[in-house]
């Protein structure tokens, strides 16, 4: 469980490093499907609770697939759509971060920014 100053720091990180880069929506969540932080630029109408529940299931299924092919995990997932792309990344064994972005941002930039934010969140956790 995070305290208020940790949550403030995480919100500040997501705002400045991800939302500030033009990402539409960011969800930080735990493996049980509960949302820890939600940021939305306002032009996406996503049912965040349902999305988080499905994402937790998705990650669990992919984890099981990884083990079947001899990997300890697949740390990131990417779904490409016509208008919206979704990038999923593990923060640690308990948390995931999901970013939704449009065609104007490249996957490479998103991965770079998400990696930075993941490392910073881990520092906050510690």
């Amino acid at each position: 469980m995070f305290n208020k100053s940790q949550l403030d720091a995480i919100d500040e990180l997501i705002d400045s490093r991800l939302m500030g880069s033009g990402i539409d929506c960011v969800i930080l969540m735990n493996q049980a499907g509960n949302t820890i932080a939600e940021h939305n630029i306002g032009n996406t109408d996503v049912d965040v609770k349902a999305f988080a529940a499905l994402a937790a299931g998705n990650f669990a299924a992919v984890d099981a697939m990884a083990k079947l092919v001899g990997e300890s995990e697949f740390a990131l997932l990417f779904h490409k759509g016509e208008k919206v792309n979704v990038h999923f990344s593990k923060v640690n064994h308990e948390m995931f971060i999901i970013t939704m972005f449009n065609k104007q941002i490249t996957l490479g930039l998103v991965r770079l920014k998400v990696d930075e934010v993941v490392n910073s969140i881990l520092e906050i956790c510690n």
Binding site: M1, F2, N3, K4, L7, D8, D11, N30, Q31, A32, G33, N34, T35, I36, D47, K49, A50, A53, L54, A56, G57, A60, A61, A64
Partner: protein, 201 residues
């Protein structure tokens, strides 16, 4: 365990409907969704197979008001009941705060009810959780079938089979018609909230 966000003042609570396949877990959530549709902010999510059986889970979140200034969001989940999906059931049980065990009262389901409850106990252990310490409500579903002369297990036998040691509150129910679906829900919500109040506040 319930997720408490001290910044947004929100508590997210996870309640899982567990039980043997075709026992009525999804039907419980569908009835709740239909009954409270106007008050629910989000749609029910169901991941089903082509023959309409639960593949991964059903999901239905709703607000139940505030406790000590914290908005309480209850998230209802079902598990897939089919025997082959036990790994999925383990996943859905992650972070669970309360359980409704939906048993099927049809006479030919007696063994499967017991097997499912035993498996629930084992699956919870993989999350370091103890069924005996978990808010739990028993629901003996499909009680209406006795009106169609289908042989059913009397509730005292259901109690003996499933609840003699757990001693959880139990309801006879007819999820299809809504009988005792809401009382079951209210009971598990109140038990779960009481347990997290002790732990969190």
């Amino acid at each position: 365990m319930a997720l408490v966000n001290v910044k947004t003042k929100e508590v997210q609570v996870k309640i899982v409907y567990y039980g043997p396949g075709r026992g009525g877990k999804t039907t419980n959530l569908e009835y709740i969704n239909k009954k409270y549709r106007e008050r629910l902010k989000t749609q029910m999510v169901s991941l089903k197979t082509h023959d309409d059986r639960t593949l991964f889970f059903d999901f239905l979140p709703f607000d139940v008001g505030k406790i000590k200034g914290f908005q309480i969001v209850i998230q209802l989940y079902t598990v897939p009941g089919q025997v082959k999906y036990n790994e999925t059931r383990k996943v859905v049980l992650g972070g669970v705060d309360g359980i409704v065990f939906v048993a099927d009262v049809q006479l030919n389901q007696r063994k499967r009810n017991i097997e499912s409850l035993n498996q629930l106990y084992e699956n919870l252990k993989t999350h370091q959780l103890d069924l005996f310490k978990m808010p739990l409500v028993m629901q003996y579903n499909k009680i209406d079938l006795k009106n169609q002369n289908i042989p059913i297990i009397p509730s005292r036998i259901m109690q003996k089979d499933l609840n003699s040691h757990l001693k959880a509150p139990a309801f006879e129910a007819s999820a299809l018609k809504g009988g005792n679906v809401i009382p079951t829900l209210k009971r598990i919500v109140s038990m779960t909230l009481a347990s997290i109040q002790d732990e969190l506040f």
